[in-house]
């Protein structure tokens, strides 16, 4: 039974999933070529491993590990502060390179993409395998990082493929061979199947992805909800999830959270951190012409316990000044003067289009008008002179103090090695090679 193919065609359609290998660490190795082949770790400013190169992973370094633990298992690890500016530039470039091959590119995350290759064999005079290989090669030559890829009939299968051979691998899963890849794959490893569902499936004797894919449709319909029925189709090589090409231009919620070191119990300082997050979230909301109807406030302590509170707004807003009072109330409900805090965050949710806001008769429209003018000018000034050129007084204590202890040594080089004409907030949108020549 198990060696019976799930699908008789090889590639009725072809979707590739590309996943950059140890992305942040690889970017660092690309701009610091002397670090190639060495254990590199990013996340210095946070005190935990954000990304580890394959060399570091081989030595037992894992994501999320504390840096002092890293020093025990891998004393020669090179620990760098995160340089998100460079990582985003690499990410944008990776997607731009992929768009040279196909217009259907989905930017799934900073380091992952889905590309629909269906019908491109003729224009590239080659197989889907050769197109995927060419994509990988171009990214490697031009960016200096490697990606792993999987090509198959659906997104779920392509994702299984890209994980199959990592790093720097390419795996083809044609329809006729799907069953060969699913037979040994535990069902919880399938994209979209969580712990609860896999526990349920196990009770019905489904341990592998193949056993799941082979269940008859009636059973699937009776016991599982729509998302899992879709995964079932995808595993059988029937593509349900389209490659979504448009870049995100709307949000259901916007969250901003920042850690700071050392941890603090200073009420004014912790509130300033929160206020800065609120300002940032509102800037983003205004950029997308959205307003929030709910506000979530949370604080995280040194021992990682966190507390939060959700507040419903009386009317949609993206202006901090309207939200400060609620923010303060929420903060006071959860702030414990005896606790040490390391992170604050806000989530704006229940987003609605700014244009759909209706004002009641009792509101002071002149005041609203004035406020919208003030924030529009603030946004314009920020665009011209950099973020937080103007900000609310409540956020000031957060600005006056470095976000992280010993920040001077933990700032990515790109922020220090400025060219004439660049400044702290505005730099050329191009990665810098750190080679001494």
């Amino acid at each position: 039974m198990d060696n019976q193919p799930l699908n008789i065609f090889s590639f009725p359609q072809a979707i590739v999933h590309l996943d950059a290998d140890a992305f942040f660490a690889s970017c660092e190795q690309a701009i610091h070529p002397e670090l190639k082949g060495k254990p590199v770790i990013t996340g210095k400013e946070r005190g935990i491993v954000a990304a580890a190169s394959y060399e570091a992973k081989a030595r037992g370094v894992k994501r999320g590990m504390r840096l002092f633990e890293v020093k025990k298992v891998c004393p020669d690890a090179i620990i760098l502060p995160s340089d998100y500016e460079t990582y985003s530039l690499f990410s944008i470039r990776m997607f731009d390179i992929l768009r040279r091959f196909s217009p259907d590119v989905e930017e799934y995350s900073i380091d992952e993409a889905f590309v629909d290759l269906t019908g491109l064999r003729r224009s590239f005079h080659g197989s889907y395998e050769s197109i995927a290989e060419k994509m990988r090669n171009t990214i490697e030559t031009e960016l200096g990082i490697t990606v792993s890829a999987g090509v198959s009939l659906s997104k779920v299968l392509a994702k299984i493929g890209s994980k199959h051979k990592k790093p720097n691998g390419l795996t083809m899963i044609p329809g006729r061979e799907i069953h060969l890849f699913l037979g040994k794959l535990p069902v919880e490893k399938v994209w979209g199947i969580g712990a609860n569902t896999s526990a349920f499936l196990k009770k019905h004797g489904i341990l592998t992805a193949l056993q799941f894919a082979k269940r008859e449709e009636g059973w699937i319909r009776r016991y599982l909800s729509k998302p899992y029925r879709e995964i079932w189709h995808e595993l059988n090589g029937r593509s349900v999830y389209p490659v979504v090409t448009e870049t995100k231009n709307s949000y259901q919620s916007i969250s901003k959270a920042k850690t700071f070191t050392p941890a603090s119990r200073d009420e004014t300082f912790v509130f300033a951190q929160l206020s800065k997050n609120l300002e940032n979230a509102c800037i983003k909301a205004r950029k997308y012409r959205l307003a929030a109807t709910r506000l979530i406030v949370f604080l995280r302590q040194q021992d990682f316990t966190s507390s939060g509170v959700e507040i419903t707004l009386s009317k949609p807003s993206a202006y901090p000044i309207e939200l400060f009072e609620l923010l303060r109330n929420g903060f006071q409900q959860i702030f414990d003067a005896k606790a040490l805090y390391r992170q604050t965050g806000v989530v704006l949710s229940g987003m609605v289009a700014e244009s759909s806001i209706q004002y009641t008769l009792f509101e002071d429209t002149a005041k609203i008008e004035k406020m919208s003018k003030i924030y529009a000018s603030m946004d314009r000034i920020s665009e011209k002179y950099g973020k937080h050129t103007i900000q609310h007084g409540a956020s000031l204590p957060a600005k006056l103090q470095a976000q992280h202890e010993g920040e001077r040594g933990d700032v990515p080089q790109r922020k220090i090695a400025l060219f004439k004409g660049e400044n702290k907030r505005q730099r050329l949108g191009m990665p810098l090679l750190h080679i001494k020549v």
């Binding site: 701009i31 070529p33 002397e34 470039r93 731009d96 390179i97 171009t138 030559t141 031009e142 960016l143 200096g144 090695a417 060219f419 004439k420 004409g421 050329l428 191009m430 990665p431 810098l432 090679l433 080679i435 001494k436 020549v437």
Partner: protein, 199 residues
């Protein structure tokens, strides 16, 4: 006798129509041509089209609708080359597509990196300490290119010289000696430009 300015004006009109064609993927209607070139009368448009047809820039389809089809227009137009005589006037110069400094300095954006020069081995080529060089990782290095290379474990910026099978890295400063790689030569990219800002 049609003067140079008339020709320039005609070229401008062709460019407007061409831009429309490239943007929308179809030829404009007569009314749209009028809007593009600033004619309010259909008659004026019609004589313009006639003129363009004579010059084989466009043609009218033979069906009853008489829709326009692009002819030479669909090919890249060499703008300044069409002016046969006379001194180019400042107005003509405006015809050339504007090239931004970015376009000039960057060929393949995705493969382009910046590098701040710290050494003095290329001063003879006009590359000074503190200069910003633009490095393209996608280009195939040729003899004579300035390259960023790793030779036997050391990074350097030099001229790449290929003679037969031998490769030499040549500095542009008498203080340094040319390098012949013993074991390994890795080229990280080709220097395509140097930028120095004074104020």
């Amino acid at each position: 006798m049609p003067g140079i300015t008339d020709k320039v004006e005609l070229q401008n009109r062709i460019r407007e129509i061409e831009r429309f064609y490239r943007k929308s993927g179809r030829m404009p209607s007569y009314i749209e041509i009028g809007a593009l070139v600033g004619f309010s009368s259909k008659n004026a448009v019609s004589s313009l089209v006639e003129n363009l047809e004579k010059q084989n820039v466009v043609a009218r389809a033979r069906d009853k609708a008489g829709k326009l089809v692009p002819k030479s227009m669909a090919m890249p137009v060499k703008v300044l080359g069409t002016v046969e005589a006379g001194f180019p006037s400042p107005a003509e110069e405006e015809l050339v597509d504007n090239l931004s400094l970015d376009d000039l300095l960057i060929q393949n954006r995705e493969a382009t990196f910046l590098l701040k020069v710290s050494g003095d081995s290329m001063t003879g080529a006009g590359i000074m300490q503190g200069d910003m060089v633009i490095v393209d990782k996608g280009l195939t290095p040729k003899s004579g290119d300035i390259v960023i290379a790793q030779v036997d474990g050391e990074w350097t910026m030099k001229y790449l010289r290929k003679r037969g099978d031998t490769v030499t890295l040549v500095p542009a400063n008498p203080k340094y000696q040319p390098i012949k790689p013993k074991n390994e030569l890795k080229i990280a990219g080709v220097v395509t430009a140097v930028v120095r800002k004074y104020r």
